[in-house]
Symmetry: C2
Subunit: 137 residues, 2 copies
Protein backbone atom coordinates (compact mmCIF):
# COMPACT_ATOMS: atom_id res chain seq x y z
CA UNK A 1 0.00 0.00 0.00
CA UNK A 2 1.06 3.56 -0.61
CA UNK A 3 0.10 6.89 0.91
CA UNK A 4 1.06 10.19 -0.69
CA UNK A 5 1.09 13.36 1.39
CA UNK A 6 1.20 16.77 -0.26
CA UNK A 7 2.70 19.16 2.32
CA UNK A 8 2.98 22.92 2.07
CA UNK A 9 2.78 26.30 3.70
CA UNK A 10 -0.82 27.49 3.33
CA UNK A 11 -3.36 26.13 0.86
CA UNK A 12 -1.01 25.11 -1.98
CA UNK A 13 -1.24 21.42 -1.04
CA UNK A 14 -5.05 21.52 -0.71
CA UNK A 15 -5.41 23.24 -4.08
CA UNK A 16 -3.02 20.83 -5.78
CA UNK A 17 -4.96 17.88 -4.40
CA UNK A 18 -8.18 19.40 -5.76
CA UNK A 19 -6.64 19.66 -9.23
CA UNK A 20 -5.28 16.12 -9.12
CA UNK A 21 -8.76 14.83 -8.22
CA UNK A 22 -10.25 16.85 -11.07
CA UNK A 23 -7.87 15.22 -13.56
CA UNK A 24 -7.48 11.69 -12.18
CA UNK A 25 -10.83 11.21 -10.45
CA UNK A 26 -11.36 9.36 -7.21
CA UNK A 27 -8.09 8.73 -5.38
CA UNK A 28 -9.59 6.43 -2.74
CA UNK A 29 -7.95 8.51 0.01
CA UNK A 30 -4.43 7.46 -1.06
CA UNK A 31 -3.41 11.11 -1.48
CA UNK A 32 -3.82 13.57 1.38
CA UNK A 33 -2.71 17.12 2.03
CA UNK A 34 -1.10 18.92 4.93
CA UNK A 35 -1.14 22.71 5.22
CA UNK A 36 0.99 24.68 7.67
CA UNK A 37 -0.68 27.89 8.81
CA UNK A 38 0.77 30.83 10.78
CA UNK A 39 1.25 30.05 14.46
CA UNK A 40 1.56 26.31 13.80
CA UNK A 41 4.66 24.14 13.83
CA UNK A 42 5.48 21.75 11.00
CA UNK A 43 7.58 19.77 13.48
CA UNK A 44 4.46 18.96 15.52
CA UNK A 45 2.85 17.48 12.42
CA UNK A 46 6.03 15.58 11.52
CA UNK A 47 6.16 14.03 15.00
CA UNK A 48 2.52 12.89 14.77
CA UNK A 49 3.09 11.56 11.27
CA UNK A 50 6.19 9.68 12.43
CA UNK A 51 4.11 7.82 15.03
CA UNK A 52 1.61 6.81 12.35
CA UNK A 53 4.31 5.68 9.92
CA UNK A 54 6.23 3.67 12.52
CA UNK A 55 3.03 1.73 13.26
CA UNK A 56 2.34 1.20 9.55
CA UNK A 57 5.61 -0.32 8.36
CA UNK A 58 4.14 -2.14 5.36
CA UNK A 59 2.84 1.07 3.82
CA UNK A 60 5.03 3.22 1.58
CA UNK A 61 4.81 6.93 2.48
CA UNK A 62 5.74 9.47 -0.16
CA UNK A 63 5.82 13.08 0.99
CA UNK A 64 5.84 15.81 -1.61
CA UNK A 65 6.74 19.18 -0.12
CA UNK A 66 6.60 22.71 -1.41
CA UNK A 67 10.03 24.25 -1.02
CA UNK A 68 13.52 22.83 -0.53
CA UNK A 69 15.06 24.12 2.70
CA UNK A 70 11.87 25.74 3.97
CA UNK A 71 10.20 24.79 7.24
CA UNK A 72 7.72 22.17 5.94
CA UNK A 73 10.32 20.24 3.94
CA UNK A 74 12.89 20.53 6.73
CA UNK A 75 10.44 19.27 9.37
CA UNK A 76 9.70 16.21 7.20
CA UNK A 77 13.38 15.44 6.67
CA UNK A 78 13.67 13.43 9.91
CA UNK A 79 11.06 11.01 8.54
CA UNK A 80 13.40 9.93 5.72
CA UNK A 81 15.28 7.90 8.35
CA UNK A 82 12.33 5.51 8.17
CA UNK A 83 12.78 2.81 5.52
CA UNK A 84 9.27 3.33 4.11
CA UNK A 85 9.44 7.10 3.55
CA UNK A 86 10.58 9.12 0.57
CA UNK A 87 10.56 12.93 0.50
CA UNK A 88 10.60 15.31 -2.44
CA UNK A 89 10.69 19.10 -2.64
CA UNK A 90 9.43 21.47 -5.35
CA UNK A 91 6.19 19.60 -5.94
CA UNK A 92 4.15 20.43 -9.00
CA UNK A 93 1.20 18.86 -10.79
CA UNK A 94 3.52 16.95 -13.07
CA UNK A 95 5.16 15.24 -10.11
CA UNK A 96 1.88 14.05 -8.58
CA UNK A 97 0.51 12.76 -11.88
CA UNK A 98 3.77 10.95 -12.75
CA UNK A 99 3.72 9.36 -9.30
CA UNK A 100 0.15 8.16 -9.73
CA UNK A 101 0.58 6.84 -13.26
CA UNK A 102 4.16 6.01 -14.32
CA UNK A 103 5.61 5.37 -10.86
CA UNK A 104 2.74 3.59 -9.20
CA UNK A 105 4.88 0.67 -7.93
CA UNK A 106 7.05 0.94 -4.82
CA UNK A 107 9.66 3.61 -5.50
CA UNK A 108 13.27 2.45 -5.72
CA UNK A 109 16.10 4.97 -5.29
CA UNK A 110 16.48 4.96 -9.07
CA UNK A 111 12.74 5.59 -9.49
CA UNK A 112 12.97 8.52 -7.09
CA UNK A 113 15.72 10.11 -9.17
CA UNK A 114 13.80 9.42 -12.37
CA UNK A 115 10.63 10.93 -10.89
CA UNK A 116 12.60 14.08 -10.01
CA UNK A 117 13.94 14.27 -13.56
CA UNK A 118 10.50 13.81 -15.13
CA UNK A 119 8.99 16.42 -12.83
CA UNK A 120 11.74 18.89 -13.73
CA UNK A 121 11.07 18.30 -17.43
CA UNK A 122 7.52 19.57 -16.93
CA UNK A 123 8.96 23.02 -16.22
CA UNK A 124 9.28 24.76 -19.55
CA UNK A 125 9.30 28.24 -21.00
CA UNK A 126 6.56 27.65 -23.56
CA UNK A 127 6.47 29.71 -26.76
CA UNK A 128 4.39 29.44 -29.89
CA UNK A 129 6.56 28.88 -32.92
CA UNK A 130 5.72 31.65 -35.36
CA UNK A 131 6.46 31.64 -39.07
CA UNK A 132 8.35 34.77 -40.11
CA UNK A 133 5.53 35.67 -42.46
CA UNK A 134 2.97 35.77 -39.63
CA UNK A 135 2.03 39.01 -37.99
CA UNK A 136 3.45 39.50 -34.53
CA UNK A 137 1.51 41.80 -32.23
Amino acid sequence: MRKIILASHGDFSKGLLDSVKMIVGDLANCVNSYSLYPGQSASDFALELEKTIVEDKECEYIILSDLYGASVCTAMLRLTKLHNVKLFSGMNLNMVLELLTRFSDKLTTEDAEQLSKESRMGIQNVTLQINEEEEVF
Copy 2:
Protein backbone atom coordinates in the same frame (compact mmCIF):
# COMPACT_ATOMS: atom_id res chain seq x y z
CA MET B 1 4.54 47.10 -14.57
CA ARG B 2 4.15 43.34 -14.33
CA LYS B 3 1.22 41.03 -13.80
CA ILE B 4 1.66 37.38 -12.94
CA ILE B 5 -1.17 34.93 -13.56
CA LEU B 6 -1.15 31.47 -11.98
CA ALA B 7 -3.34 29.28 -14.19
CA SER B 8 -4.47 25.73 -13.51
CA HIS B 9 -7.14 23.09 -13.64
CA GLY B 10 -9.06 23.33 -10.36
CA ASP B 11 -7.88 25.05 -7.20
CA PHE B 12 -4.12 24.48 -7.57
CA SER B 13 -3.53 28.08 -8.69
CA LYS B 14 -5.70 29.53 -5.90
CA GLY B 15 -3.91 27.43 -3.27
CA LEU B 16 -0.48 28.33 -4.62
CA LEU B 17 -1.36 32.02 -4.52
CA ASP B 18 -2.49 31.62 -0.89
CA SER B 19 0.88 30.09 0.02
CA VAL B 20 2.84 32.78 -1.82
CA LYS B 21 0.94 35.46 0.09
CA MET B 22 1.63 33.65 3.36
CA ILE B 23 5.38 33.69 2.65
CA VAL B 24 5.86 36.99 0.81
CA GLY B 25 3.05 39.07 2.30
CA ASP B 26 0.96 41.60 0.44
CA LEU B 27 1.37 41.26 -3.33
CA ALA B 28 -0.53 44.45 -4.18
CA ASN B 29 -2.65 42.49 -6.67
CA CYS B 30 0.29 41.87 -9.02
CA VAL B 31 -0.28 38.11 -8.81
CA ASN B 32 -3.67 36.63 -9.69
CA SER B 33 -5.00 33.13 -10.21
CA TYR B 34 -7.15 31.46 -12.83
CA SER B 35 -8.88 28.14 -12.20
CA LEU B 36 -10.49 26.04 -14.92
CA TYR B 37 -13.45 24.02 -13.65
CA PRO B 38 -15.40 21.20 -15.34
CA GLY B 39 -17.74 22.48 -18.04
CA GLN B 40 -15.64 25.59 -18.66
CA SER B 41 -13.29 26.35 -21.54
CA ALA B 42 -9.76 27.61 -20.99
CA SER B 43 -9.90 29.11 -24.49
CA ASP B 44 -12.71 31.45 -23.42
CA PHE B 45 -10.52 32.76 -20.63
CA ALA B 46 -7.52 33.06 -22.97
CA LEU B 47 -9.57 35.12 -25.43
CA GLU B 48 -10.73 37.50 -22.69
CA LEU B 49 -7.22 37.77 -21.33
CA GLU B 50 -5.88 38.51 -24.80
CA LYS B 51 -8.20 41.52 -25.10
CA THR B 52 -6.93 42.85 -21.75
CA ILE B 53 -3.29 42.33 -22.65
CA VAL B 54 -3.59 43.93 -26.11
CA GLU B 55 -5.00 47.05 -24.43
CA ASP B 56 -2.24 47.04 -21.80
CA LYS B 57 0.89 46.92 -23.96
CA GLU B 58 3.20 48.51 -21.40
CA CYS B 59 2.53 45.82 -18.83
CA GLU B 60 4.53 42.58 -18.79
CA TYR B 61 2.29 39.50 -18.39
CA ILE B 62 3.82 36.32 -17.06
CA ILE B 63 1.58 33.28 -17.07
CA LEU B 64 2.57 30.28 -14.99
CA SER B 65 0.54 27.21 -15.91
CA ASP B 66 0.11 23.82 -14.31
CA LEU B 67 0.91 21.18 -16.92
CA TYR B 68 2.78 21.22 -20.22
CA GLY B 69 0.53 20.10 -23.08
CA ALA B 70 -2.68 20.14 -21.01
CA SER B 71 -5.67 22.31 -21.82
CA VAL B 72 -4.87 25.36 -19.66
CA CYS B 73 -1.29 25.69 -20.90
CA THR B 74 -2.31 25.01 -24.49
CA ALA B 75 -5.08 27.62 -24.39
CA MET B 76 -2.57 30.22 -23.15
CA LEU B 77 -0.06 29.37 -25.87
CA ARG B 78 -1.65 31.73 -28.43
CA LEU B 79 -0.94 34.64 -26.05
CA THR B 80 2.82 34.14 -26.43
CA LYS B 81 2.49 35.79 -29.86
CA LEU B 82 2.09 39.03 -27.92
CA HIS B 83 5.43 40.76 -27.25
CA ASN B 84 4.60 41.38 -23.58
CA VAL B 85 3.66 37.79 -22.62
CA LYS B 86 5.77 34.91 -21.32
CA LEU B 87 4.34 31.49 -20.51
CA PHE B 88 5.74 28.74 -18.33
CA SER B 89 4.49 25.25 -17.51
CA GLY B 90 5.05 23.05 -14.46
CA MET B 91 4.65 25.88 -11.95
CA ASN B 92 5.74 25.29 -8.39
CA LEU B 93 6.28 27.48 -5.33
CA ASN B 94 9.94 27.82 -6.20
CA MET B 95 9.09 29.34 -9.57
CA VAL B 96 6.75 31.98 -8.14
CA LEU B 97 9.14 33.00 -5.38
CA GLU B 98 12.11 33.21 -7.78
CA LEU B 99 10.02 35.36 -10.10
CA LEU B 100 9.05 37.72 -7.29
CA THR B 101 12.52 38.03 -5.82
CA ARG B 102 15.45 37.19 -8.16
CA PHE B 103 13.69 37.91 -11.45
CA SER B 104 11.68 40.96 -10.55
CA ASP B 105 12.85 43.01 -13.56
CA LYS B 106 11.40 42.54 -17.06
CA LEU B 107 12.19 39.00 -18.16
CA THR B 108 14.58 38.62 -21.09
CA THR B 109 14.65 35.35 -23.04
CA GLU B 110 17.79 34.43 -21.10
CA ASP B 111 16.07 35.24 -17.81
CA ALA B 112 13.16 32.99 -18.81
CA GLU B 113 15.53 30.09 -19.41
CA GLN B 114 17.36 30.80 -16.15
CA LEU B 115 14.06 30.95 -14.25
CA SER B 116 13.11 27.54 -15.68
CA LYS B 117 16.47 26.12 -14.59
CA GLU B 118 16.19 27.57 -11.07
CA SER B 119 12.64 26.25 -10.72
CA ARG B 120 13.75 22.79 -11.83
CA MET B 121 16.54 22.83 -9.24
CA GLY B 122 13.90 23.16 -6.51
CA ILE B 123 12.74 19.65 -7.36
CA GLN B 124 14.82 17.27 -5.28
CA ASN B 125 14.62 13.85 -3.74
CA VAL B 126 15.52 14.90 -0.20
CA THR B 127 17.16 12.45 2.17
CA LEU B 128 18.67 12.86 5.60
CA GLN B 129 22.34 11.92 5.62
CA ILE B 130 22.71 9.27 8.29
CA ASN B 131 25.96 8.29 9.97
CA GLU B 132 26.49 4.55 9.77
CA GLU B 133 26.54 4.40 13.57
CA GLU B 134 23.02 5.83 13.85
CA GLU B 135 20.04 3.62 14.26
CA VAL B 136 17.89 3.25 11.17
CA PHE B 137 14.24 2.39 11.75
